[in-house]
């Protein structure tokens, strides 16, 4: 298990934000799973109202039982996999750096970091009715490094976070005696 302290490299460095996706990222797959889970019940109810019935046989009972078992276990595994991929996406903003840990899928992850002194531009983006009402959105951080863009996808309070990052960048520049970019 990882510890937040392991990410801190500089003296006097402290974590300002530890961010994960907004809960809405989990809500959509859960809604889809619920929808998929009730489909067999709807199909069963519809079949019972028709004038045709399926031939009752042992083979059909076996295929239906095995099929439903695979179907529901598959839905549940899909939900767990979705949670895994979203939960392991983490953005850490410290007083010195931004660290982005991205989980693409199982056994595939990227860890990238940028010092705040390289940040050139911070843009927050809240677009749509749902993001505005629930308070989530994206942040795009433009840097001068090899990784020229950092995207914070679907995070809570993006405006507040981007404002704080900008303030932290300003503090770093003052500390290092750099002039702000023109």
């Amino acid at each position: 298990m990882m510890k937040l302290e392991d990410l801190l490299h500089y003296p006097n460095e402290r974590v300002v934000y530890f961010l994960r996706h907004h809960w809405i990222v989990y809500a959509f797959p859960v809604a889809l799973a619920v929808l998929l889970a009730i489909i067999p019940f709807i199909a069963g109810a519809l079949l019972s109202t028709t004038s045709y019935v399926l031939n009752p046989s042992v083979t059909m009972a076996a295929v239906l039982s095995l099929g439903l078992s695979v179907y529901y276990l598959g839905i549940w595994l899909f939900l767990f996999t979705t949670f895994h991929n979203a939960y392991l996406d983490v953005w850490v903003v410290t007083t010195h750096r931004i660290v982005y840990i991205e989980q693409h899928q199982l056994f595939s992850r990227t860890v990238s970091e940028q010092p705040l002194s390289r940040v050139q531009d911070v843009t927050s983006d809240v677009r749509g009715i749902l993001p505005t009402m629930l308070g989530y959105g994206d942040i795009l951080v433009q840097t001068a490094g090899a990784v020229d863009k950092f995207a914070f996808d679907t995070i809570p309070n993006p405006t507040e976070v981007s404002r704080t990052i900008f303030q932290l960048v300003d503090d770093v520049r003052k500390r290092e005696g750099e002039p702000p970019p023109a």
Binding site: M1, Y52, V53, N55, V58, L73, F80, Q103
Partner: protein, 83 residues
């Protein structure tokens, strides 16, 4: 051909399910930052999986797997005889 032949692909699926779940749980443990929520979700996954398997086994034990496999099994018959 006996019906239990259908259990072979099902067993392979279960093997894949358990391996995939274990890999996800290990990955969560190895790479997540200490959090009670992670343990809660792993416990929930194990509990729901156990419940689904329990219900499945209940349904599958009621079937006579030594019976012959009949194809096609999806033939439909009219419940209303017009003649």
């Amino acid at each position: 051909m006996p019906l239990f032949i259908l259990l072979i692909p099902y067993a392979l699926f279960l093997l894949m399910y358990v391996s995939w779940s274990f890999a996800l749980a290990y990955h969560l443990y190895r790479f997540s930052f200490s959090s009670a929520r992670m343990w809660l979700v792993v416990a929930l996954h194990v509990s729901v999986s156990a419940f689904l398997l329990f219900v499945s086994i209940g349904a599958l034990t009621a079937i006579d797997w030594s019976a012959p496999l009949q194809l096609p099994f999806l033939a439909m018959t009219s419940a209303i005889n017009p003649f």
